[in-house]
């Protein structure tokens, strides 16, 4: 084995009573791509933040290139040749690529010399690693894939030998992700070390050399990627066997429950985000909408659920029209049997400061079951919440606990329990498993299938292509506010990926 680029020895880190990292030992070999996987809250981000100097470990030692290192700030990390590409980019949107790259590394008072130096250096880096970007382009005008390249260039410009990438493919199309992996491969060939944090096991299998699994703050295993399987990694992450692909029978689609015709929606800036979209959802089927984030899916969901007013278009729910252009509000739609699990559960689907039982009636607080005149029927609300907690296995099973103290998966279950238990005719779900741990994903998928089998019409919007493919009976692909194609669940990832990227969609749709 090659010499270690980084060694972490006995790292401990606690936040109050929470032990985020316990006794972590990790050795990352130079010139390799090393994956770190684990559920949300397993401690991956904390560990990398310690390595990058955002946090200090309570105890333990870090060695970089065999030498003990003291990393107190990100500047120390950069000086040691460690660079990080964050999940949310740290770029100044209205600066050019070049300006962003020298930001924080300007070498003299007048920028001219720094810029000239950066330009030639950038040129070299681009050629060496195949990282082509126009140095004078303005960041906000670049697609996310290129913005991410700028982040990588920024790290390389600062002399990074070790590159940490935190969930780098979350915002990319499959094609962009492939390109990123090629770049990472080239970096490896040039002797750089790459640390990849992700929850997508297939990516780990595709490009890493070694993989470490974290669970509940501990490092449970390190494997050579060649000698492990997706199933084994999933089991290590969760601590038990999990079903990665949900099992379901044939759909038995019935009458049209929700018919959307020529729907157009603009966002707050007046930009058309949903452009003349039409589709139907039938009882007993799951329709999935695939697409790269930001192609109008969010606005579509908001319009159908009555949160955002549509500009034009007609929608029929159970054969009766609803006016989505101003008259209908979410309460009315709910009364008519349309339940909505929103994409953003932290700000929309839940009030995090509320007790769990208070959230279990959000949107249904007009229901006479939960009221005694103008007063809340506290006993009824809490008993109802307890029933849902039992039925959906929400943990901890405490309906008085503040919602913010539940894990992401359990928060999502609180929303799902609330919406599903109202027995709606139509269920629309945005990002059903975003930020949800593997164990809960399985549970949520099974529930959605069960809804379908009960004859409900289900619409699922997700940026996770795997999820769309495993859940949907029909797949619609959105690009730039339009539906650019419809496919069956047997469609390949490559085919959907092309549609999602908007590549010659006329040809693909033929």
């Amino acid at each position: 084995m090659a010499q270690a680029a980084i060694e972490l020895i006995g790292i401990n880190k606690s936040f109050g009573a929470v032990r985020a990292n316990r006794d972590i030992n990790l050795e990352i070999a130079r010139g390799t791509i090393h994956g770190i996987v684990g559920e949300n809250g397993a401690g991956k981000s904390t560990l990398m933040s310690i390595l990058y100097g955002f946090y200090q470990a309570d105890s333990g030692e870090i060695r970089v290139g065999g030498q003990p290192a003291s990393i107190k700030t990100p500047n120390d990390a950069i000086a040691l040749g460690i660079g990080m590409v964050h999940q949310h980019f740290m770029l100044v949107d209205n600066f050019s690529v070049l300006e962003n790259i020298i930001l924080g590394a300007e070498s003299d008072a007048l920028l001219k010399r720094s810029i000239a130096k950066a330009r030639s250096e950038l040129d070299r880096l681009e050629r060496e690693y195949g990282l082509e970007v126009d140095p004078d382009a303005i960041i906000e005008e670049l697609p996310v894939g290129l913005q991410q390249r700028v982040e990588i260039l920024k790290a390389l410009y600062r002399g990074a030998e070790i590159l940490i990438l935190d969930e780098p493919t979350g915002v990319l199309t499959p094609a962009e992700a492939d390109h990123l992996f090629r770049i990472l491969g080239q970096l490896k060939e040039q002797g750089k070390t790459v640390v990849l944090i992700t929850h997508k096991l297939r990516e780990i299998m595709a490009i890493t050399d070694t993989v470490s699994v974290m669970r509940q703050g501990t490092m449970v295993a390190t494997r050579e990627t060649k000698k492990t399987t997706v199933e084994e990694l999933a089991e290590l992450m969760v601590g038990r066997r999990v079903l990665l692909r949900v099992e379901k029978g044939e759909a038995d689609a019935g009458a049209v429950k929700l018919a959307v015709k020529n729907l157009t929606v603009k966002d707050t800036r007046g930009v058309t985000m949903v452009d003349d979209i039409s589709f139907d959802i039938r009882a007993g089927e799951i329709v999935g909408i695939a697409g790269v984030a930001g192609n109008g899916q969010s606005e579509l969901l908001e319009a159908i659920s009555g949160i955002r007013h549509a500009v034009s278009g007609s929608v029929m729910l159970d054969g009766k029209p609803i006016d989505l252009t101003g008259a209908a509000d979410p309460g009315e739609l709910r009364d008519r049997g349309l339940a909505h699990v929103p994409e953003d559960r932290h700000h929309v689907g839940l009030v995090l400061a509320f007790e769990e039982n208070e959230n279990s009636i959000l949107g249904y607080h007009d229901d006479p079951r939960y009221l005694k005149g103008p007063f809340l029927n506290i006993d009824a609300i809490r008993n109802d919440a307890k029933d849902k907690i039992a039925k959906y296995d929400i943990r901890p099973a405490d309906c008085r606990l503040k919602t913010a103290n539940f894990s992401g998966g359990n928060q999502q279950k609180i929303v799902l329990a609330r919406e599903m238990e109202q027995d709606p005719g139509v269920l629309i779900v945005g990002q059903p498993t975003r930020g949800v741990d593997v164990g809960a994903i399985e549970f949520i998928h099974k529930r959605l299938i069960a809804m379908r089998d009960q004859g409900k019409a289900v619409l699922v919007v997700s940026v996770e292509l795997d999820e769309i493919r495993s859940l949907s009976d029909r797949i619609l692909v959105m690009f730039a506010g339009r539906i650019v194609g419809e496919r069956g669940p047997e469609a390949t990832e490559g085919e959907l990926g092309l549609l999602m990227a908007g590549v010659e969609h006329q040809e693909a749709a033929q």
């Binding site: 032990r19 985020a20 949160i307 509000d329 400061a353 103008p374 809340l376 901890p396 741990d437």
Partner: protein, 379 residues
């Protein structure tokens, strides 16, 4: 890790931290007293004795507290709906107009126990209507409620000055105030309650408004935590997006919350006007609306906390007056400085000591902060 700090048990959250903040405020205030050459310990003794030492002192403390309970509740109701009502001052001031109309009309014909309910209605309706305009502008036009309520304080003050030096002033009088009310608009004192405990009271303005304030505190608790309306207000206050999602009308909830807030502010006027001065005079609110902001913050927006915080500020007012009298070097302005320090530490710097106390708790008893159980068992 989104929550670097652990949760505290309720008694520490609501009891220990406010006490520590208060203690630090008094220590800093002690240095100020030292600076002007007086003995801070003696000053503290005078302050506390002035407020609680004699029956009269206690009655005055509770009289001031009554005023602050109303304004504190007013601010809190709006705050639960995510609205910062800075207009409590003006809403209380203009409500004096409603009380004036009722009292001047009926004080010669009705007994106090009939005038009082009418005045309660008049003050709360006027206060609510004064809050309605900024609320409407916020809900329909997006004008920021902080700006509009501040401006409405000025408008209220100007209207009241105009009326009190003009139409409402008895002819021939030199004082900018209404005529004095007759017995039919004078509220009974509550001093006898304190005298039951053996204290003697010379004369103090504590009156039935104190009981009204306590009833309102209970009703606010009921409203916020036990009614559908309160639920909707809290939802909107925590997350307007979640309220939209839940089908709660933004316009309706903003206007309702602000009108309730305005009504509570308006009731504050009953205490000095009908309980003490027996007339409506210029500037009778004298900053109580702004103190209400501090009271609401220090009381953590909970009615029980607000009553306690109001008593604390009542104590500062009453004890401060004694202190200014006993120690000539400490002027009335020094008392305002001390009050300001309490507001600073209890309100603005509320979270200053929290991380340290949390770390302390976590190191002594990890169980009491209750995080491990939650995090560890995620499904």
């Amino acid at each position: 890790m989104s929550t670097p700090y652990a949760k505290l048990p309720a008694w520490a959250d609501y009891g220990l931290i406010p006490l520590i903040n208060l203690f630090v405020a008094f220590v800093v205030a002690g240095f100020v007293v030292l600076l002007v050459g007086e003995n801070p310990l003696r000053a503290a003794v005078i302050l506390v004795e002035g407020a609680f030492g004699k029956g009269t002192g206690i009655a005055f403390t509770l009289f001031y507290a009554t005023t602050f309970i109303f304004t504190g509740l007013s601010v809190a109701v709006a705050a639960h709906c995510g609205l910062f009502n800075i207009g409590t001052e003006g809403q209380a001031y203009i409500a004096g107009l409603g009380i004036a109309v009722v009292c001047l009309s009926f004080d010669s014909v009705l007994p106090w126990w009939l005038t009082f309910p009418l005045a309660i209605v008049a003050s709360s309706v006027v206060g609510a209507l004064w809050a309605l305009i900024p609320a409407y502008l916020q809900a329909k036009r997006g004008s920021h409620i902080v700006i509009t309520t501040i401006m409405f304080n000025f408008i209220a003050a100007s209207i009241m000055v105009y009326l009190l030096v003009g139409p409402l002033k008895p002819a021939g009088s030199q004082a900018p105030q209404t005529r004095n009310f007759l017995a039919g608009a004078e509220l009974p004192k509550l001093n006898w309650i304190i005298e039951l405990f053996g204290a003697k009271i010379r004369s103090a303005p504590l009156n039935v408004c104190f009981l009204l304030a306590l009833v309102m505190a209970f009703l606010v608790w009921l409203l916020i935590w036990r009614t559908k309306l309160g639920y909707e207000m809290r939802t909107y206050g925590h997350s307007p997006k979640a309220a939209r999602y839940a089908g709660i009308s933004e316009t309706r909830i903003i206007i309702t919350a602000m009108m309730i807030s305005g009504a509570l502010a308006g009731m504050m006027a009953l205490n000095p006007v009908m309980g003490d001065q027996h007339n409506v005079a210029i500037d009778f609110v004298s900053g109580a609306g702004f103190v209400g902001i501090a009271v609401a913050l220090m009381g953590r927006l909970h009615p029980v906390g607000i009553v306690l915080a109001a008593i604390l500020f009542g104590m500062l007012y009453q004890g401060g007056a004694e202190l200014a009298f006993e120690m000539p070097a400490i002027s009335r302005d020094m008392i305002v400085i001390i009050q300001g320090l309490v507001i600073l530490f209890a309100g603005a710097l509320e979270h200053m000591f929290r991380p340290y106390i949390q770390a302390l708790f976590a190191s002594f008893s990890p169980r009491s902060v209750g995080m491990e159980a939650v995090k560890g068992k995620g499904a």
